[in-house]
Symmetry: C2
């Protein structure tokens, strides 16, 4: 069997500690090509760059690991990898992360890490987004690396139907403090912002986004938020069809039945 | 009954022809406040601006219509409206668009127009994203305005459960050439890119994203792509929970049952 080829990407940029951790995870399963943003792209969701040119440079090359910095978004990085750099190769897995900060609940929608993972799943191989629930500069990635390896090892050992994209969140803390893996659904809720307002040096008022997550189902037991809060690694399978099938029928009462 | 308050936003920027068309739609239902990006934000998905300050300016004020330009993404515009400008008011409806170009199928994920609409639905009122399947400079918005009014009129005339977000796409062409409204699901498929490669004036290679949509179910009759192709206005109810519930059970075979 040929060695596996794994694409690694993230949204914190090619030089982040989390990318090195993701490469460590991926390296245990095969050859790694990482294509990651030049600069931080947190909160970039599934954004693509339509109106400007993008630049690619190789920043590291050693046996089994190549790293490229790309001037676009996380999704641009995935597209660059599959549609240009690795076009002639078969990619076996996409690993996105390890994000500095969790991407549970509705954060999955704003997350560049998860935007890239979902995009990766469009190319026919499993895609796993890994996020550590710790924003601190000296965050300890050991548990995230350990569980990342365990989850990907389990995935690769079983036949799984494609497309497959997993949103994996790891609580902060030492591996021995975590209870294990829990399959969950995405917690419902939303953010409410409190714009931070100040004046710039020219006296112009500026706004800076800052807010709080509102958990609309704090008592639910089967969500990723709950799993994280209780010290479990949350695993949510996600997919790209936003259709609200339940409402499709309800709305016929508003718009009438479809005509011919 | 008090006059309704409608928030209008888009991803093409405050000066676009499509924003004027969306304001025309919204104006027939009440007072309009528009908060739209300073510059084009196409392809910005549900991105938020985390690492820089944002600037707001009022660009138009007349009875019943105020327009603000905000230096962030479409989702930033929605957050600015609900969490700052209109914090003390009750917003009855969000209209996003009218986009220059369709947002059917997987485009809903990359679209700034639909990112803003989905965000709007998190604030407890119906949100409607309107997109016209015509990218040309002199696109004719008449049919989009007409159907936008009809769809929103129907929505406001019926009690509907919240949250509600509609992805509405209007085929190019004159209103009389369209057949009517069709409730649909999101078409499956993905984009494959062909990066356009050239050299900049300094001799550095650059890449520019360009690609083609791959429709993986061209024969399906109940999708938005099919509706558009056949001259119908497609209406897809969308929601923010990406959980793939079907896979949740399947994956227990990979990861084992959830431990206590």
């Amino acid at each position: 069997m040929n060695e596996r080829l794994i694409l690694v990407t993230n949204d914190d940029g090619y030089a982040s500690k989390g990318l090195a951790a993701a490469i460590e995870v991926a390296r245990s399963f095969g050859r790694v090509v990482a294509v990651a943003p030049e600069t931080t792209q947190s909160g970039m969701s599934q954004a693509i760059t339509m109106y400007k040119p993008l630049f690619l440079r190789r920043v590291r090359q050693e046996p089994g690991v190549e790293v490229y910095a790309f001037s676009g978004t996380p999704v641009d990085c995935v597209k660059m990898a599959f549609d240009h750099l690795l076009r002639e190769e078969r990619v076996d897995l996409v690993v996105s992360g390890i994000n500095h900060g969790s991407n549970s609940a509705v954060n999955v929608l704003y997350s560049g890490t998860m935007g890239a993972a979902l995009e990766g799943s469009f190319y026919g191989c499993p895609a796993v987004g890994l996020s550590l629930d710790d924003h601190s500069e000296d965050a300890d990635f050991e548990a995230a690396v350990l569980y990342g390896k365990r989850i990907i090892g389990d995935l690769l050992a079983h036949p799984v139907e494609m497309p497959l994209c997993l949103n994996v969140n790891i609580p902060a803390g030492r591996p021995e403090a975590l209870h294990g893996i829990r399959l969950c659904r995405q917690n419902r809720g939303y953010w409410r912002e409190e714009f931070f307002r100040r004046q710039d040096p020219l006296g112009r008022e500026y706004f800076w986004l800052t807010g709080n997550f509102v958990n609309t189902e704090p008592d639910a037991c089967d969500t990723d938020e709950r799993a994280l809060a209780e010290g479990w690694v949350s695993v949510v399978p996600i997919q790209a069809d936003l259709t609200d099938y339940r409402r499709l029928e309800q709305l016929r009462e508003v718009f009438g039945p479809n005509e011919k």
